[in-house]
């Protein structure tokens, strides 16, 4: 970042100051780490077996892998569902029929305003009453449906803002060559808008994956719940929760990396902006 506009190329004195600050920053971090380690040691959290237990076959095959599979199962279904939901209601908001526009707007705004957890609890307790789904499956469907409604609404907004962010000339050129407004939308605006929104869409998948952890609160046996079950049984809950967090971080970092790569790759193929939501604005990020 030597090219940053915020500070000049540094002279000898500034370099000295920077060196000192570097050392201070490293020291501060070191002190913090030392304090944490000391506190951990005091409470016997550094005992070797509490950590080595994380890397045994039993930990993974009985707890972490089944938990991760359940997390991914809910997340995958929610991703597919919310993309479909988002396309339908995003197109609804762009429709030239006012009643479709109005209905889509109300649906999208409502589900974006209600916390995901509130929807999850509602479906968890509500689905059990309908008797349509086996009681053992209600947590899974509650997680999936709540995630679809919320993230689908966010994706609907992505579709709409994707179309609005295209340069005006794109639509005008379409009209100029004799397309009707809805033809221009279908064959010129939408393909570019959908390409432009792909990176943001992948970023939204990170949100979906993170939000599956809310299923813990409604007894869905996902990764966090498995980690807790293992940890409270073996008395190393601090360590198992940390490992669960690390697993989430690895998967999400991979997705974020993919979003960044996609955005660079696709920027040649659309006149829209491909910067992922994350970077553009810390927008609709929840749980």
């Amino acid at each position: 970042m030597s090219t940053s506009v915020l500070f000049d190329v540094q002279g000898p004195r500034a370099k000295r100051v920077t060196m000192i600050l570097n050392v201070v920053a490293v020291l501060v971090v070191a002190v913090l780490v030392w304090l944490v380690v000391q506190k951990l040691g005091e409470q016997g959290q550094l005992d070797a077996e509490k950590w080595t237990a994380l890397f045994t076959e039993r930990t993974w095959s009985n707890f972490f892998i089944p938990g991760l599979l359940d997390t991914l199962r809910a997340a995958t279904l929610a991703v597919v569902g919310s993309v479909i939901f988002g396309l339908i209601f995003g197109l609804g908001r762009l429709s030239s029929v006012w009643i479709l526009r109005a209905v889509s707007t109300v649906v999208v705004e409502f589900f974006r305003a209600v916390p995901v957890l509130v929807m999850m609890i509602f479906f968890y307790l509500g689905l059990a009453r309908t008797g349509l789904i086996q009681p053992s499956n209600t947590p899974f469907w509650a997680v999936v449906i709540a995630l679809i409604l919320y993230n689908g609404s966010v994706i609907a907004e992505l579709v709409r803002s994707g179309v609005y962010q295209l340069p005006k000339g794109q639509r005008e050129a379409g009209l100029a060559v004799g397309l009707t407004p809805s033809q221009a939308l279908r064959s010129i605006l939408l393909p570019q808008a959908l390409t432009a929104m792909l990176p943001s869409l992948v970023s939204q998948f990170v949100v979906i994956l993170k939000d599956t952890a809310l299923g813990y609160i409604i007894t869905y046996p996902e990764l966090l719940a498995s980690a807790r079950r293992l940890g409270s049984g073996d008395g190393n809950i601090l360590q198992t929760l940390l490992l669960a967090a690390v697993v989430f971080m690895i998967i999400n970092s991979a997705l974020t990396f993919l979003a960044g790569r996609l955005s660079r790759l696709l920027s040649y193929r659309t006149s829209g902006k491909t910067r992922p939501l994350h970077e553009a604005a810390a927008g609709d990020e929840t749980g």
Binding site: L214, L238, G287
Partner: protein, 228 residues
């Protein structure tokens, strides 16, 4: 129908819905302050000259943004509180409340940092160059020239973060705080027959809280926009 409504009304009189919403609003208030302070410091670190500070800021944002809020809150309560036995007060509920505020602040600070950084990106290079030209060093330039403009540019993403924070206060249920989502669960379990009305009440409460915040930030961001 009238029976349904009277059932619902009697349920409302038994449970303190407004009180539970008040807990969420308090959580939002304190966590907004906490995440704003921590997020501003992180943003300053991420644009500062020393490479180590930039690295620390970037690492924080990457790690926290990729971790579910639920894990952070469960970790604070089951890991830090019950295993490391760190507590702030003797009052159980107060203690969980403080832990929830800390967890929400830690999580949302990463998003506040990114919001401010995206605001910094809206400040034209000429502003920073002019600041340097009149002899301001990094901190005075950041304080007097960059941050005031960056904050104005960051109002929309900051507003979105505030809305997300408001909704995320429901996750404090994972840290044993009795707020609205926990109360809703209790109410539905007690009277499952009026589940729809209870859900709509809670949902409407959030619509009433969230939509004015959205309108306010849109209005503010237009009013305070730096004319360029």
């Amino acid at each position: 129908m009238s029976e349904y409504l009277s059932d619902y009304a009697s349920l409302l009189s038994q449970y303190d819905v407004l009180g539970a919403f008040w807990v969420n609003i308090q959580l939002t208030f304190w966590a907004a302050i906490g995440s704003m302070v921590l997020g501003s410091v992180l943003a300053l670190m991420r644009i500062s000259p020393p490479a180590s500070m930039r690295a620390v800021g970037a690492a924080y944002v990457t790690l926290i943004r990729n971790t579910p809020l639920t894990i952070i809150l469960v970790f604070l309560v089951l890991g830090v509180w019950s295993q490391l036995t760190i507590s702030f007060t003797d009052d159980f509920n107060q203690n969980f409340f403080i832990y929830a505020v800390i967890g929400l602040s830690i999580y949302h600070a990463a998003f506040v940092c990114e919001a401010i950084r995206s605001g910094v990106n809206t400040v034209p290079a000429g502003q920073a160059e002019a600041a340097r030209a009149i002899g301001l060093s990094f901190l005075p330039a950041a304080r007097l020239i960059i941050f005031p403009q960056a904050l104005r540019g960051a109002i929309t993403p900051l507003g979105n973060t505030l809305i997300a924070l408001t909704k995320n206060t429901t996750v404090a249920a994972a840290a044993s705080v009795t707020e609205i989502s926990a109360l809703m669960k209790t109410m539905i379990e007690f009277r499952p027959d009026v589940i729809i009305a209870v859900f709509l009440t809670v949902a409407l409460g959030f619509v009433i809280i969230v939509i004015p915040v959205g309108l306010l930030t849109t209005w503010l961001s237009q009013k305070l926009a730096v004319k360029r």
